[in-house]
């Protein structure tokens, strides 16, 4: 009976034991790095704000730069008219609705149209000093990872007023 144990006990220590120990250590270190990067917001969902200003208006876009498949996220566009804007239009980059489920856009645009394949949302005129906030609620399509254009432009009719350039990374 004991020889079954003795055979194992007397066998020289396998090199795979030492190798396995180091493999475990390396794996746990990699896990530690992943968790640390996640805490630092590298893998998404941290919202950041980008601002732009023109002579007619100030605009800011608050949205995450990186998102993961399936998650909900919000983008908020804030406008402040410095001068009257008769026909405010938000011209969205192509990435705004590419592979993203649009749950809601509030306030809804008075009309929607397309300009060179980009979505254009038209709102009622703004007087000097007026503020407007538009909330976009999305859910990420998990089957379409990649990097896309999340830039946005404020136009007065066809005339550009302010432009924010952003990219959105969708993690697999």
């Amino acid at each position: 009976m004991t020889e079954l144990f003795e055979q194992v006990a007397q066998r020289p220590e396998s090199r795979s034991l030492t190798g396995g120990l180091w493999a475990r250590r390396v794996t746990m270190t990699a896990f530690g790095v992943i968790a640390a990067l996640a805490l630092a917001g590298v893998f998404g969902q941290e919202g950041t704000t980008t601002r732009a200003q023109g002579p007619q208006a100030r605009m800011s876009l608050g949205a995450p730069r990186t998102v993961r498949g399936g998650v909900f996220f919000q983008a908020r566009v804030e406008l402040r008219a410095l001068r009257a804007i008769e026909h405010p239009r938000l011209v969205l980059g192509r990435g705004w609705v590419e592979g993203l489920q649009v749950n809601s856009i509030e306030p809804s645009a008075a009309s929607e149209s397309s300009r060179d394949g980009r979505l254009v949302l038209s709102y009622d005129g703004l007087k000097a000093g007026d503020r407007m906030t538009v909330w976009f609620q999305f859910q990420v399509n998990p089957t379409q990872p990649g990097r896309r254009d999340l830039s946005i432009e404020l136009d007065d009719a066809e005339q550009p007023v302010a432009r924010v350039s952003r990219k959105l990374t969708v993690m697999p």
Partner: protein
């Protein structure tokens, strides 16, 4: 970031729940307990990953859970005083052939259950047992008089 926090919270919640429920219930699972465990697993998944269906999210949660598991095992190994809190101490159910009624009552183990466990280990009578110890794994180990 939120995934790491949620995974950490759930890890310690599960740790508290398993310590509170008692090792006997976890060591000896009835069909009801088994189904309950699956239901809890599903609820935990929803709480941790929510709508996240990404590989990135799954990797973050698995990495966090592994780190916490190894971390608590290391803390338990390194600090003896924390061991009862994290793993629990062995509990003596029979000492010197005497049934420890208080310990049995506290662990909600009946004489019949103890006898059944003894039979499973080829012990014919509780009278033959010198020591019975409820291990932190929920299993009962027996030392016979012979």
């Amino acid at each position: 970031m939120d995934l790491v926090f949620r995974a950490t919270f759930v890890f310690f919640l599960i740790l508290v729940v398993t310590r509170a429920v008692g090792r006997r219930e976890l060591g000896q699972m009835e069909p009801f307990d088994f189904i309950l465990l699956i239901v809890i697993g599903d609820l935990v998944q929803q709480g941790v990953t929510q709508s996240d269906q990404s590989l990135t999210g799954a990797t973050i949660v698995i990495a966090t859970m592994c780190l916490l598991t190894v971390g608590t095992a290391y803390v338990s190994f390194r600090f003896r005083r924390l061991r009862p809190l994290l793993e629990g101490d062995p509990i003596v159910l029979i000492a010197g052939g005497e049934l420890q009624e208080r310990a049995l009552r506290r662990q909600r183990i009946t004489d019949d259950e103890l006898a059944a466990e003894a039979r499973l280990q080829q012990i014919g009578s509780l009278g033959d047992v010198r020591f019975a110890i409820l291990e932190s794994s929920g299993k009962i180990s027996f030392v016979t008089k012979s």
